[in-house]
């Protein structure tokens, strides 16, 4: 029986020398954190839009997917012709993709969400799902239904194995960039006046207006930042795994949304913690239980966690004041 084999594997894992187990664990951890960093970046987009508009932007995963494709297209078409050094090409590809996706984000907000701002929240959710289906199929039509691969020359292949633990440059880059972006974003929201305006808008649109805050503009800013971060995550993902497909928005979007909920939706550090935790949980599930049952395990933990912390790890526990 298959379960027999799986448990035999688990049992023999116990017999491995302690050091090897440690190395394997550390390696799992590095990988979990890398995946988690991508989840976090995407989760930020969910959380920011949710925080300000109370909208679960189901199209966010697709911004991420399009970001990945755009980065790819920039690299293989325009930039490949140039004589720029690799790092400059990568930066340019990322920036261009980010700019384009931000623009798209603002456009989608204007066309599909703003007309619904005064309607029930679920109305906008359905609209977001419609946008998601639209973008996904648009990507399929533009880039084809087949998998595309980032060209090999675009990926810096640098690997280390300190103490037997495999770490690659891309992994460090992903973790580093994600962390920097998240800290930067957190500072921006906590320390600047515009950040305070964002927080105020998140609490109460009308009162924010009375302070002289242009709510439409704040929402535009949110739709520049959220999809922009998604695009960066998309390019990073493309570089790390190379292959991209139009369905990646759904699968990663769902994961990132899970991460945002896990951390407490609407909360920026929460998105980060949630993403990392999800990455690690997946790694634990696949590594120590069974990859086939991994998602069941992850969702089980998530549900248990929410039973005890109904608003996520860092979500405010506002018992509704009566």
């Amino acid at each position: 029986m298959r379960t027999g084999v799986a448990s035999a594997a688990a049992v023999s894992a116990w017999r491995l020398p302690c050091r090897v187990k440690m190395v394997v664990f550390l390696e799992q951890l590095v990988n979990g954190l890398t995946v988690g960093a991508v989840y976090s970046l995407v989760a930020l987009g969910y959380t920011m839009v949710y925080g300000v508009m109370r909208l679960i932007n189901f199209a966010h995963g697709d911004f991420f997917m399009l970001g990945s494709y755009l980065g790819y297209t920039m690299l293989v078409t325009v930039l490949a012709q140039s004589s720029l050094p690799l790092w400059a090409m990568l930066c340019l590809a990322t920036l261009i993709s980010m700019g384009a996706i931000s623009l798209l984000g603002v456009l989608v907000e204007r066309m599909a969400y703003r007309p619904l701002r005064k309607s029930s929240r679920l109305t906008a959710v359905v609209s977001a799902l419609g946008v998601s289906i639209f973008l996904q199929n648009a990507a399929m039509l533009i880039w084809g239904a087949r998998y595309q691969a980032y060209p090999p020359w675009s990926v810096p292949e640098v690997n280390w194995a300190p103490g037997g633990v495999h770490v690659s440059l891309m992994q460090l880059l992903i973790m580093g960039i994600s962390l920097a972006l998240m800290v930067g974003l957190y500072m921006f929201v906590q320390r600047t006046t515009v950040g305070a305006a964002i927080r105020a808008t998140a609490i109460d649109h009308d009162t924010a207006r009375l302070m002289g805050i242009d709510v439409d503009q704040i929402i535009r800013i949110i739709f520049v930042i959220g999809p922009g971060l998604g695009a960066i995550a998309g390019v990073l993902l493309g570089l790390y795994y190379r292959q991209i497909h139009f369905t990646v928005g759904w699968s990663y979007g769902l994961k990132a949304f899970t991460a945002a909920i896990l951390g407490g939706i609407g909360n920026i550090p929460g998105a980060m913690v949630g993403g990392m935790l999800l990455g690690i949980l997946e790694m634990l599930g696949a590594g120590y239980i069974s990859a086939a049952w991994k998602d069941v395990f992850v969702f089980l933990i998530l549900i248990l966690l929410l039973i005890f912390r109904p608003t996520g790890i860092l979500g405010e526990r506002v018992a509704e004041k009566v």
Binding site: R199, L210, M211, G212
Partner: protein, 238 residues
């Protein structure tokens, strides 16, 4: 020229008209009061002045410009501050952040912001004690003080106050009214909406009585105070 003037303003929510053509005038330096039963349209009128709702027709003039089509965030810059009904402070922001947001139009002028903050603290010493506390944890009275203080931050020419005494203990009501008078003394024109007609008429110069979206009475506050209709309907006197 009067500071604020509404002419035949009609306001509707969806297809339901809530205010059926009201006209009123607020002179510079005055305290003007709008009295009226619940649902008469007082809040609606203030929301139209501050731009939160577009009136269906009519004009709202601040000085010599019509502001009825200008978005709310622009109107603040032109000198109207609105302290909304039910305080509406930002509960998860600190007292000081709330005040800073009030001075959003002065962003980029930190010294202006800090001198205004100082002025508010002078008016409400209690807020200074709590400047780093989250606004949501303030008591009702303190929140009202914060809301008013926040309204003063953009240096408004005219302050719209919507039921500042709502839900406050008697002692605090007295304090709030004392401060409103003090603010007016500093040269800020005030348009006040109140249920507590007795107190409101006592401090204001001019008053309007609004009933189901229409102005039914207006005049100097002292006159209205002695008007039998007002006495009967709002002061509970026979």
């Amino acid at each position: 020229m009067s500071l604020l003037e509404l002419k035949d303003v009609r306001i509707a929510y969806g297809s339901v008209e809530a205010v059926h053509g009201i006209s009123l005038v607020v002179e510079r330096g005055q305290i003007a009061t709008i009295l009226g039963a619940n649902g008469a349209g007082k809040t609606t009128t203030l929301r139209a002045i501050s731009g939160l709702i577009r009136p269906r027709s009519g004009s709202i003039r601040l000085g010599d410009t019509d502001i009825s089509q200008i978005p709310a965030h622009e109107i603040v810059n032109r000198g109207i501050a609105h302290v909304p009904e039910g305080r509406r402070v930002f509960p998860t922001l600190t007292v000081e952040e709330n005040l800073k947001l009030g001075a959003y139009k002065h962003r980029g002028h930190p010294d202006k912001v800090s001198s205004n903050t100082g002025r508010v603290y002078q008016l409400f010493p209690r807020l200074e004690e709590r400047r780093l506390q989250l606004a949501g944890t303030l008591s009702g009275g303190e929140q009202q003080m914060l809301a008013i203080g926040r309204g003063l931050m953009p240096d408004p020419d005219i302050l719209l106050l919507d039921e500042p005494s709502l839900g406050l203990a008697p002692k605090l009501v007295q304090e709030i009214f004392r401060v409103v008078r003090e603010i007016n003394g500093q040269g800020v024109t005030i348009l006040l909406v109140e249920q507590n007609a007795r107190l409101a008429l006592r401090i204001s110069n001019h008053a309007y009585v609004l009933e189901t979206g229409r102005i039914v009475l207006s005049g100097p506050a002292d006159e209205l105070r002695r008007d039998p209709r007002v006495k009967k309907a709002y002061l509970g006197e026979k």
